[in-house]
Subunit: 108 residues, 2 copies
DNA sequence: CGAACAGTACGATGGCTGTCTAACTTCCCG
DNA sequence: CGGGAAGTTAGACAGCCATCGTACTGTTCG
């Protein structure tokens, strides 16, 4: 009951897929926010990232990130707690996440 | 006559756009090939990258890379000589290109 | 119990994108 | 000059994708 979601193994992480997941501004903001907050619930991420989208759209973005192997999701009561898979990403694509997080934030 | 193509300034490079450009396997292969070969013509890149697509599709991919600011194109007679914009990419997104080039090559 | 809350699932929709063929422009070279 | 080589452009087409509203499931709490 702790966790039941589909997420790829470390060795299965695909670079094109990871890059595609990160290429959307909303998801990029999500990842940045997650890097600052640490584990947090969907609604919290959406609020803190300043994303003005519907709940279903947010859910969609989080699914893309999860299925690309960028995040991990744990069920906690009514909430889903999401974390960045830093270790796996660093192991498979060294320097990539740091480069993305260190890059200048886009102008709105 | 040396050059007449549209390519963004260093400061204008957009991370989502760069990531989107790199998220296609054909373009990723193109960038890897370009990193090994140095400046080279479109046909040469296509051949060395092992890309089995039409000329127009290749032209399309090279345009995406150019307009994202990842490559520079110089006209040389009948050919277009393409190079990676390593300096600009490194300056604006430190570590990103290295991480992408250093990542494991995907299984076909 | 019952209402409000946290998210997901499902369609629907409009826009973007990778691909191709065909036609065109330049340029090189014999 | 004339043919072939190197790419680009235009147009068409199929598939994917970001977005939304609505309906649904499960949870928390008064």
């Amino acid at each position: 009951m702790t966790d039941e979601v589909v997420q790829p193994e470390r060795a299965e992480l695909s670079l094109p897929r990871v890059l595609a997941a990160l290429s959307d501004p909303a998801r990029l903001a999500t990842v940045r926010t997650l890097a600052m907050l640490g584990e947090s619930a969907c609604g919290r991420i959406q609020h803190d990232a300043g994303l003005d989208v519907s709940k279903s759209t947010m859910s969609h973005h989080l699914r893309i990130l999860r299925e690309a192997g960028i995040t991990h999701t744990r069920v906690d009561g009514a909430r889903r707690m999401v974390t960045l898979r830093r270790d796996d990403l660093d192991a498979r694509f060294p320097g990539l996440l740091d480069a993305v997080l260190g890059a200048p934030v886009e102008a709105r």
